[in-house]
Symmetry: C2
Subunit: 205 residues, 2 copies
Amino acid sequence: MHTAEQTCGAFLDALASKAPTPGGGGASALAGAVGTALCTMVGNFTVGKKKYAAVEEDVKALMAQAEQVREELLAQVDADAAAFEPLSQAYAIPKDDPGRGEVMERCLRAAAAPPMTILRLCCKAIDLHGKMLEKGSVIMLSDVGTGAALCRGALLGAALNVKVNTKSMADRAYAQAMDQEAEALVAQYTKLADQVYEAVMGRFC
Amino acid sequence: MHTAEQTCGAFLDALASKAPTPGGGGASALAGAVGTALCTMVGNFTVGKKKYAAVEEDVKALMAQAEQVREELLAQVDADAAAFEPLSQAYAIPKDDPGRGEVMERCLRAAAAPPMTILRLCCKAIDLHGKMLEKGSVIMLSDVGTGAALCRGALLGAALNVKVNTKSMADRAYAQAMDQEAEALVAQYTKLADQVYEAVMGRFC
């Protein structure tokens, strides 16, 4: 069943259970989708207001992008589970099997892809929150800051789920290229998320 | 409908929509529940393993606590929505109505309570992740780090949703006592969450 059609209670139960999926990657994707939905909500309370008429088209464009990112993040919960299953089976191949290395490498690459996608999507979501901070209704500021904080957590979760795969890859050049992209994005976007959060908290103090 | 029985897709749609609830508080509670479920998952992959027999009872105790925290966080999604509705109605009372101040103050106190509860629960969840880092299976390390990162985001989201209510309270002594508790917990537990995350990432590098 797709996560979108699963109840929140059932998803959480499956996540907590001994089943190999969903796991940390899917959890990050869902938390990122929750954070991203707040960006759209802020837009929904901004458009149609006289005070924000001058930025209405900009806000609508941000909302459309946020909706796209949220949809992709939710789809990545299922993509992450689908990519992890073959890897969890590959671990069961006897260590002296001559074909094990090649299968493992292929499965590790496949399993690293969804967390990398989730990571990039969380960066986009944080960027959108940064823009919504400038354009969105001031009565919705706490939701912008909350969205940025939740997407920051999801970004870091995704980064660990990239790393847990790259660390086991035999092809170190491939692994390091992926690690470097992840590290650069984490450094840039955790900083941006913190700036958005602090800007909101600062206005409340 | 309770959030537990709502589909993930429907919850996200409601969150993104122009409806006043769910909002940032509920979003934080759900993200915290997602992070907390990972703590239980790590336990589920630890108990029953010979290698971890010596800590099995400790791990089971951590799992039981995590299940309790997760259940309470999920319930707080609905509690936050229920407490916010009267406040959103109170804002509509004419500003020259002599009874407005008292109603607003009562509604602000009620609306601040669920985010404060969510904040405290996220601290408990981060503490449990810290303990699971010590006792849980090493093959589940990335999930401990991911859980801590997601609960850190939820903690910060909850803190903003406390502050957005306390900043409008007329009773400054009450508001400041709440702010001080929130700030102290945020300082202590974001630090612990970062330590858990960095310890996991450090073992992968």
